[in-house]
Amino acid sequence: MQLNNLTLFRQMEQKMHWLSTRQSVLAENVANADTPAYTPRDLKPFTGASSTQLAAPLIMASTDGGAYMSGSNGASMIPVVQKDREAVETSPNGNQVSLEDQLTKVGETGMDYQMLTNLYRKQLSMMKTALGRNTTA
């Protein structure tokens, strides 16, 4: 059984990927907080899967053809890096990084990630309950 064929797991995985990419972009911004003429960047907001993407697992339920093996077809959400639109302050050396904003975002990202790993674990333990070999939950 591939967990990624389940919509919820796939979406959680995508969001976690998005969050870890965002973390590295934010790390770049913080590291360059004193670099002259540096403009901070951020990711495009995470939109999740659209309704057509949600329907994808139903298509994959058919066992004939290679579609079954291909996993998510086109439903993957690739994080897109763009210029940080909230950056408005510019220091005399042309740097636009606001350390407070960036650290707020870092905290946000960390908390979201924590929430997702918790969700993932809960979901998994629920499935184990259904399988009848879970002892803890």
Binding site: L19, S20, Q23, S24, E28, A31, Q102, V106, Y120, R121
Partner: protein
């Protein structure tokens, strides 16, 4: 996960750059009273660190590095000290163009930026260990 490793590397580069800046500030403060060793010799000249963002080709991340350490071209302080062994014919001694207040502010800024990078590392590390913990779910 590789994104998180990248973010660790980026933050580490930021910390390295800030600590080099700290070293230069320490040199400036330590030499704030270093006059030349003969009446016409020039005293210590203040050094300034400039950062630049640099594309790390292995990871595609924008790390930070010290691009150059330049000498501050501003004028030396001229003090009237006829009894000084290095005083010129009129009794003046050239002192370095170091303003300890400016250096102290610079030092604070370096410290804050260092802490910000440390914070990002902590969050990245938390995200990584949470991902690893999923294996125990």
């Amino acid at each position: 996960m590789s994104d998180l490793y990248t973010s660790l590397g980026v933050s580490a580069s930021g910390m390295k750059a800030q600590s080099l800046r700290m070293r230069v500030i320490a040199e400036n403060i330590a030499n704030a009273d270093s006059t030349g060793d003969s009446p016409n010799a020039l005293p210590y000249r203040r050094q300034v660190v400039t950062f630049a963002d640099e594309l790390d080709k292995a990871s595609g991340a924008r790390k930070v590095e010290v691009s150059k350490i330049t000498k501050d071209p501003s004028q030396f302080v001229r003090k009237y000290m006829p009894g000084h062994p290095n005083a010129d014919a009129d009794g003046y001694v050239l002192y370095p163009n170091v303003n300890t207040l400016v250096e102290t502010m610079d030092m604070r800024e370096a410290q804050r930026s260092y802490e910000a990078n440390l914070n990002v590392i902590e969050v990245s590390r938390m995200m990584m260990s949470r991902s690893i913990d999923l294996l125990r779910a």
